[in-house]
């Protein structure tokens, strides 16, 4: 099971808390899937203020580790301010750091992300940066002080799966000891299984579950896919090969059959 900043989490499934038909269905998705971490936005859900208390109380009642995020922040300053507010509201130094660089694709701003990671890490925050799969960026983020990386699979909410499997595999190979989470762009349980088969420590998603016709059933499907992917990784999967190799011997088969 993933270990973030010395804390072991009971499940490699991390779920966002936005866009569900109701808080009751959100809670049911967590209950059925056993998801280990709930991310929650302080900006959008709260309408920009501190008035989201009722919803935040529902999130705390889920009984899972809460990872507040800075979703919707387009500047370092906004993200840092939101992180401070999150620490106060949820009593945690964990922060999923989002600094958006492009309004349409919601692509992370790598430069602002490194700066905000440095500021928040220096202040004692445990930063989970939402980043691209760029190897050099990830290296700079680690040097800026974070101990977890959260590269995207595809842009937020697109459900397109792992767009650059090569890049994600490279991250795993270059940072064997850093907890890696695929965050965003996951659409199907098979995408999540693929990330786990690559050796990622966890998968974070929201829309694919929240906007499914039956969110709780879809959350369970993701939990099982993630479990399958992790089992497969631990079981040392075969390498693909060019030559067909029969799994039953050909010798002894009737020649005219």
């Amino acid at each position: 099971m993933p270990v973030f900043y010395g804390t072991e989490i009971a499940s490699a499934l991390m779920l966002g808390t936005a866009l569900y038909p109701s808080p009751a269905i959100l809670a049911e998705a967590f209950r059925r899937s056993g998801a280990g971490v709930a991310t929650v936005s302080l900006r959008r859900e709260a309408g920009g203020g501190r008035e989201g208390q009722d919803f935040w109380a529902l999130i705390r009642d889920l009984g899972v580790r809460v990872l507040p995020n800075t979703a919707g922040c387009h500047s370092v300053r906004e993200a840092v301010t939101t992180a401070h507010m999150a620490r106060e509201v949820f009593g945690t130094d964990w922060i999923k750091l989002e600094v958006i660089g492009h309004a349409d694709t919601l692509q992370p701003d790598p430069f602002g992300l490194v700066e905000a990671t440095r500021i928040l890490s220096d202040e004692g925050f445990r930063v989970f940066p939402y980043c691209t799969e760029d190897l050099v960026l990830c290296d700079r983020l680690l040097r800026a002080g974070c101990g977890v990386l959260m590269p995207w699979g595809a842009p937020i909410g697109t459900g397109r799966g792992l767009m650059n499997p090569y890049g994600l595999r490279s991250l795993r190979a270059h940072f064997p000891d850093v907890p890696l989470v695929v965050d965003a762009g996951i659409g199907l349980p098979s995408h999540a299984a693929q990330a786990m088969e690559m050796g990622f420590d966890a998968v974070l998603l929201n829309t694919a579950v929240a906007r499914a016709g039956d969110p709780a059933a879809m959350a369970l499907a993701f939990a099982r896919a993630i479990e399958a992917g992790a089992l497969a990784r631990a079981a040392d999967p075969m390498e693909p090969r060019d030559m067909a190799a029969p799994s039953t011997p050909l010798l002894g088969q009737a020649v005219l059959a």
Partner: protein
């Protein structure tokens, strides 16, 4: 058997409860600090779409089933109601949204470009396909509330800002009832009212969009209401710039001619909701409470009012009954 009732709250729930009880011979008084429906209550800011089928894409089954009775009920109360259905469209880039919506709703019919042009000439050429939700209707909330209040007064219902309680209490205070309903939360909604005298729509139009969904409700005389924000927050202050920009941008995407519209009003309020976003009826001091209508006030208040009257007059236990009002 209830002969006299005091209803707390003159929002859509309070007025519907007053209508059902008074129609069945109960002497009703409605108490509201403002004396009647008005901007202090969230139903004043409602869209007024009686759209059970559209809502079924996200809401639970009772919303669709009970919501289908709403249009007849409002019409029977003399409300001015338009039964022209709802048109659902999506920008070309997000075609998949419309297919998902179609799978998750019923009582609709596909329209092609020609069908859209015929149904809503304003939108001719802008979309190549749409869903027409044929069984839906819409009304103008403020007029419906004001008219219903007048009708109730004519029937002998008293409206007071403050009065001694007598008879059975029917608590329809919405968000103000959080003092007895700890599970109640606010869900913020923002709306904009425009005047665009050259534009005409004959029915509400919903624009599906992964980030900026929108509905436009025609209010007659070139007036349109834009809505759809739904934010997990009980804040009742002014609408945020972001929400208003998103609503206006989405309207512009529906038709660029909205760019010339005059902004008449920007509004915001929080709707009371329980964790499952379904309403509840239950016992409260001196009577019962009716609450948690979420974004379905005009759609569900008639059915809830009927259930409350059944319970008080015949002892028939209502759907949505919650024995313990402190339950979370």
């Amino acid at each position: 058997m209830t002969a006299e009732a005091t209803i707390l709250g003159a929002g859509v729930m309070g007025l519907c409860a007053a209508a059902e009880l008074s129609a069945r011979g109960v002497a009703v008084t409605v108490i509201d600090p403002a004396g009647g429906p008005g901007p202090q209550g969230c139903s004043w800011w409602a869209g007024g779409m009686l759209a059970p089928d559209c809502e079924g894409a996200l809401a639970e089954e009772p919303v669709v089933r009970l919501g289908h009775r709403a249009a007849d009920w409002w019409q029977a109360q003399g409300a001015s109601l338009t039964r022209a259905g709802t048109l659902v469209v999506t920008p070309g880039r997000d075609r998949g949204e419309l297919d998902t919506f179609a799978r998750r709703t019923t009582r609709h019919r596909w329209l092609d470009a020609a069908g859209i042009a015929q149904a809503e000439p304003l939108l001719a050429g802008r979309f190549d396909r749409a869903l027409l939700m044929e069984a839906e209707a819409h009304l103008t909330p403020r007029q419906a509330l004001t008219d219903l209040r007048a009708r109730l007064i004519a029937r002998g219902v008293d409206f007071c800002a403050e009065a001694p309680m007598w008879g059975t209490r029917v608590d329809c205070r919405g968000s103000a009832a959080r003092d007895i309903l700890p599970a109640l939360r606010g869900v913020r909604g923002e709306m904009v009212v425009l005047r665009a005298p050259d534009l005409a729509l004959s029915r509400p139009v919903r624009l599906l969009h992964p980030r900026f969904p929108l509905y436009v409700v025609p209010r007659g005389d070139g007036v349109f209401m834009l809505g759809a924000t739904q934010i997990e927050s009980g804040a009742r202050g002014g609408a945020t710039l972001r929400s208003v920009v998103e609503l206006l941008n989405a309207a512009y995407a529906l038709h660029p001619a909205f760019a010339e519209a005059e902004l008449l009003e920007i509004g915001c309020d929080a709707r009371p909701a329980f964790p499952d976003n379904l309403p509840r009826i239950g016992p409260a001091e001196g009577g019962i409470y009716l609450n948690g209508l979420f974004r379905h006030g005009f759609l569900l208040a008639p059915a809830l009012a009927g259930m409350a009257a059944d319970w008080l007059l015949t002892g028939k236990k209502p759907e949505f009954w919650h024995e313990d009002h402190r339950e979370r």
